[in-house]
């Protein structure tokens, strides 16, 4: 596994939750959005084990719905628990981001 994908692994779930919060999406749509944001090397299939995991944890819920482009698809939306998990993720991310950036830039301890 490349360094990049190892780094990504931990944050991908948070990204998926954030995308689903904006609007409910189906699997293919989700993978396209991740790529549009620049995460090109997330292999498309890797979102499905994550989606199953998030579903199992009760953070998202899948629903078979008619899609504008044809037959029924499974659309995911955030549950209440998922909203909270996303909030927690954002808080955690913020608390890591600033110190990590500071360290990487070679700054001094404040």
């Amino acid at each position: 596994m490349s360094l990049r994908s190892q780094l990504l692994k931990g944050v991908l779930e948070g990204c998926i939750l954030a995308i689903i919060k904006q609007e409910s999406v189906y699997g293919y749509e989700l993978s396209v959005k991740l790529q549009q944001f620049g995460l090109n090397d997330v292999s498309e299939g890797s979102i499905y084990p994550l989606l199953l995991r998030l579903q199992k944890a009760g953070l998202i819920k899948g629903e078979m719905r008619d899609s504008p482009s044809g037959p029924k698809r499974k659309y995911y939306h955030l549950t209440e628990k998922g909203e909270k998990a996303l909030q927690d993720f954002i808080t955690e991310w913020e608390s890591i981001r600033t110190p990590v950036e500071a360290i990487l830039r070679g700054g001094e301890v404040t």
Binding site: E44, G45, L52, R53, K56, K72
Partner: protein
């Protein structure tokens, strides 16, 4: 959509895959479905999602490997690890349903054989309920065991390129017949080995057929009411 509808739709949609992608996808499908204890509904929803995704990717000129990676077995194992198990209640209901249905079919079949035999000879109509019960339990256990072995065998042979060679087909054919004879022989042996005991009744061919039909109708009603097979 319930599992049955999803399976039907999957069969239909799968035809749109090109040969390469279809081979790749069908291996995944067989492998995931061979895990019988997983929630059928969730498994079929996932299989449909994967198929939809692959169809979309195919339109954009991608192959199954581009989407799901070069190691489909490892990928499927990862998915299976996250899929919820079927509810115990559903599993028991399904096994019970199969048992009753098998019982009805055996009663019908023996009834029909007897009805024909009665035309030519004097048939002994005596049935010992104790013996019949023991035989039935043994037969059912053997059938379940054989099914389990077949499913495990199918699971083991997916994702292998050599499963379609002539040698393998001959081997499969021989093994299947061997198992068939062993099982059939066992049924006959058990019929002789289990002693006659328990409540004794007289049930001729017609009685058995009517009783078998009655039980079959009951399973049909139960299935309709509780949607055991969805």
């Amino acid at each position: 959509m319930n599992a049955k509808d999803l399976i039907a739709l999957n069969n239909e949609k799968r035809k749109q895959l090109n040969e390469h992608n279809r081979n790749y996808y069908e291996d995944m499908l067989v492998y995931i479905r061979s895990h019988l204890l997983l929630s059928e509904q969730q498994s079929e929803e996932l299989l449909m999602e994967l198929l939809d995704h692959l169809l979309e990717a195919q339109k954009h000129g991608k192959s199954a490997e581009d989407v799901f990676g070069k190691d489909p077995k490892a990928y499927c194992d990862e998915l299976i690890g996250q899929l919820p198990k079927e509810k115990r209640r559903n599993i028991y209901a399904f096994i019970g349903y199969l048992m009753i249905q098998l019982f009805a079919l055996i009663t019908l079949a023996t009834g029909a054989v007897e009805l024909v035999a009665e035309l030519f000879t004097d048939v002994d109509d005596t049935v010992y309920l104790g013996k019949e019960f023991v035989l039935f339990v043994i037969d059912f256990a053997v059938i379940l065991l054989v099914v389990a072995i077949i499913v495990l065998w199918i699971r083991k042979s997916t994702f292998r390129d050599d499963s379609n060679t002539f040698n393998n087909k001959v081997k499969t054919f021989l093994v299947v017949w061997f198992v068939f004879f062993i099982v059939f022989g066992m049924f006959i042996l058990m019929e002789r080995l289990v002693p006659e005991f328990g409540y004794r009744i007289e049930a001729g061919g017609m009685v058995r057929i009517l009783f078998g039909l009655f039980v079959l109708a009951m399973t049909w009603l139960l299935n309709k009411k509780f949607r055991i097979t969805k």
